[in-house]
């Protein structure tokens, strides 16, 4: 008999702790940290959306909703995504979840059989690989490179052996690189997926945050709608991370499968957040525009300062990240030294998988004053 009766499962043990945990503990000991390490907006949720949440609470609207989310919300989501030429039936092809994270996790579990290979475009958001493992699948890293501006290409897919994969998951606009993919670039990926009968999980959570370029969804390309699940949500666009609300768009039978898991694990997404989201879609377009304007200015500022310091950085056109080369070959070492000497928090790129090594993720979801301080300190550190 084991002396510890509650043993973690093999599944859990197969997934290491997050790479940024160590930095988090270091920073917690320090005062006056200026953080460019944050993966969420610095803005508060638009006021009208917060008011709507409060109003719903005061009216006592605190029961479960339909499993797939409130009808009024799904109808508005259908209307909202039409701006990306995406057409989904609110009754059968949309499910509202507790953040896009829940939708992605449920989609892995709904679509991955034990031993299935899931190709992951990396560097990427940190949840895909653990999600695939929890679902019993085999993750396969598909590296994207700085020389391609971190875009996913047919060549990279082939080189990684992704033709054997059952599923491909990616995130564009990308966390951590800030890369976006044009329709033409997506066409090459779509052709590869059709040829090798690969389904696509397209995480488009940053779709509203592109600069000087339009977001394109792979699901709009010929023959792709039936093999794609699109994920989006309210966290980034409407600065609603803590309210936990996202959604998936897919053909009816896929939504039905995702819902099979969702109805037993989550039952329904947070009701208060759904009320906030309805208001966000109805009346917060100008707030989104204002946040977008601010992000774009900060992006320009950070790229200009990095260039002045002689730090190599491709011009990221999406999300709220830039992904410069680390001034030292070992990005982790650099990030740690920068934190200790100047109390500036940045995340080493290898925390986001292959292709990230030798780079740093700088988030500009931080006010201009802090951004300037961080850049001044970085400059001083390099001097």
């Amino acid at each position: 008999m084991s002396d510890q009766p509650l043993q973690p499962s093999d599944r859990v043990r197969s997934v290491p702790e997050s790479g940024i945990r160590r930095f988090f503990e270091l920073a917690a000991e320090m005062d006056d940290v200026v953080s460019l390490g944050v993966g969420e907006p610095d803005f508060a949720t638009p006021y009208r959306a917060r008011e709507a949440a409060i109003d719903s609470l005061q009216r006592g609207r605190t029961s479960y909703t339909a499993n797939k989310g409130m009808t009024e919300l799904r109808e508005r989501i259908a209307e909202h995504v039409s701006r990306y030429d995406l057409a989904y039936d609110p009754d059968e092809e949309i499910i509202v979840t507790a953040g896009a994270s829940e939708a992605i996790d449920a989609a892995f579990r709904a679509l991955v059989d034990p031993g299935d290979t899931v190709a992951i475009a990396e560097p990427s958001y940190v949840s895909y690989e653990p999600g695939v493992r929890f679902a019993g699948g085999e993750p396969l890293a598909v590296e994207t490179r700085a020389e391609d501006e971190f875009v996913l290409t047919r060549e990279r897919l082939e080189r990684a052996g992704a033709s054997e994969a059952e599923l491909l998951v990616y995130c564009y606009p990308n966390n951590p690189t800030g890369a976006t993919m044009s329709k033409a670039e997506l066409r090459a990926v779509a052709a590869f997926c059709r040829e090798h009968d690969i389904a696509v999980l397209a995480d488009e959570i940053y779709a509203a945050l592109t600069y000087g370029t339009e977001h394109a969804s792979i699901a709009t390309l010929p023959g792709m709608r039936e093999r794609t699940v699109v994920f989006n949500g309210f966290s980034k666009t409407y600065a609603m991370t803590g309210l936990r609300l996202g959604y998936a768009l897919a053909p009816a039978h896929v939504i039905e499968s995702i819902n099979r898991i969702h109805q037993y694990t989550m039952l329904s997404a947070p009701t208060t957040a759904q009320h906030a989201a309805i208001e966000a879609l109805d009346s917060c377009a100008s707030d989104v525009e204002e946040m977008h304007t601010q992000y774009d200015r900060r992006r320009n500022f950070v790229l200009a300062r990095l260039a002045e310091m002689g730090i190599d950085c491709f011009e990221a056109t999406g999300a709220f990240y830039v992904f410069p080369e680390s001034p030292w070959p070992d990005a982790s070492e650099f990030a740690e030294a920068l934190l200790e000497a100047e109390q500036v928090a940045v995340v080493p790129g290898d925390a986001f998988g292959t292709g990230g090594e030798g780079h740093l993720r700088l988030s500009y979801a931080t006010g201009m004053d802090d951004l300037r301080t961080a850049m001044d300190r970085l400059e001083r550190f390099l001097a």
Binding site: I20, A27, G39, A304
Partner: protein, 162 residues
């Protein structure tokens, strides 16, 4: 937004940024930023720069009053004429012509309530066109020029998140 609107927008947000930072934020070159600001100033679009001060944070809090004025016009006197006379007083911090129940809204500042009262009764009310004044003293200022006062808006986010 063109360069002019962008620069104006940034100045309204924070007029103390360096032209170098404004250039970095907009992608314009520094000279264009400087020229744009000069033009905005020369044309009177930008009439001045000022600090947004939280009155409650001062050692001696100035007294502010919102004064409503009704006026009677005649053939020789227009709103502009009356405004011209009122605006000249240094105690008048802002002056607006309003629609609705009264004509002019004045924001009057002075060091004491007595000073405000004397100013209204001795300088404003006696003007021949002014038929009525109503003075409201400001009790607390929570927000001014888009700035919130006395709020704790610290960043509660985790220093690192994926």
């Amino acid at each position: 937004m063109d360069a002019r609107d962008t620069v104006l927008d940034l100045l309204r947000e924070n007029a103390r940024r360096s032209t170098a930072d404004l250039a970095r934020m907009t992608g314009l070159d520094e000279q264009t930023v400087e020229e744009t600001i000069s033009t905005l100033e020369a044309e009177g679009v930008v009439a001045g720069y000022t600090a947004v001060v939280d009155p409650a944070a001062l050692d001696e809090e100035p007294i502010r009053a919102h004064v409503e004025c009704n006026v009677a016009l005649d053939r020789e006197t227009s709103y502009d004429d009356i405004a011209e006379r009122l605006a000249g007083f240094p105690e008048v911090a802002s002056l607006r012509l309003m629609s609705g129940d009264y004509d002019f809204a004045l924001e009057v500042t002075a060091d004491s309530m007595g000073e405000v009262s004397r100013f209204v009764s001795e300088k404003v009310a006696p003007l021949p066109e002014i038929t009525q004044t109503v003075t409201h003293y400001v009790m607390e200022t929570y927000k001014r020029a888009s700035h919130r006062f006395d709020t704790d808006e610290g960043d509660e986010r985790l220093a690192y998140s994926p």
